[in-house]
Amino acid sequence: MIDIFTKNELLIAIDKPKNYKSGKNKKELQVIYDKMLNELSEYFFNEPCLSRMSFRKKINSLDLTTNFNSNELDTIKYIKGMLKNDHLLFNRDYRDSNTDVEKFLTNHLQHFIGALTGV
């Protein structure tokens, strides 16, 4: 579903989430995440990801009764959870959001990457 390089970069981030809460690492993580969404969009819809919201709408509108095996259905469930909470990675306001990226990596992204091993 996603490129091995993308997956490895995300696994590194999941392994050390505290390194990605701000600064250059956080920005690089955002880029890798957008790249991953692009790869997922190519996989499911044969088109690039124009925006996170449009991809999220398409994923939520998928007809899950046909065309997907049980592993893919599991993965789609985790993709939905990940997309629903990716605002934690892209927060830009001045509130204290130091733990947001860590929460996103260890709760949502980790579950999705874990589900990928079955696909």
């Binding site: 709408k57 997309l83 629903k84 306001d93 001045y94 509130r95």
Partner: protein, 162 residues
């Protein structure tokens, strides 16, 4: 309630929170404007009247206005947080989520501003808020210790003598 009704409620709540946050911001700005105007007037008067003690009055006033504005800023922050929580709900509706998130409750009640939140106002990313107050607090004190006052010219001395 249908989903459309839920969406309308969320949208209305968001508008109310935005207006309240905007109102708090405007009040905070008015406090700041009065503080700076008063401070400048006191410094100018202190200089012209050669009464350096008024410099210290200007510094004390800047602390009082800072505390007032910080109260409004903390209330504003709470409305901004409520607004952001509702934005997640609205985004879930836009994204056709089968089970959109909702905040715990929708309401305009606020918690009492805490000391922790007060300390967080001094974060570096909020430098625009506290730096001007730092300047108008220390500048008059420096002027006081430098005994900065209008120097009487010879003409003034002669005029006063006559």
């Amino acid at each position: 309630m249908s989903e459309n009704d839920n969406r309308d409620v969320a949208l209305k709540a968001w508008e109310i929170y935005q207006n309240l946050a905007k109102g708090m911001g405007e009040s905070a700005w008015k406090i700041r404007s009065v503080c700076f105007t008063l401070n400048a007037a006191l410094v100018a008067y202190s200089y012209t009247s050669s009464a350096p003690l008024l410099y210290l009055v200007a510094s004390v006033l800047s602390v009082m206005f800072f505390l007032m504005e910080s109260g409004y800023r903390r209330l504003q922050d709470q409305y901004i947080e409520k607004s952001i929580a509702i934005e997640l709900t609205l985004n879930d509706f836009i994204a056709n989520e089968s089970d959109p998130r909702f905040p715990e409750s929708i309401g305009t009640d606020l918690s009492i501003p805490s000391f922790d939140k007060f300390i967080k106002l001094f974060a570096l990313k909020r430098i625009i808020f506290w730096m001007p107050y730092i300047v108008i607090f220390f500048a008059p004190i420096i002027l006081y210790f430098l005994d900065f006052k209008k120097i009487d010219t010879l003409n003034n001395v002669l005029t006063n003598a006559c």
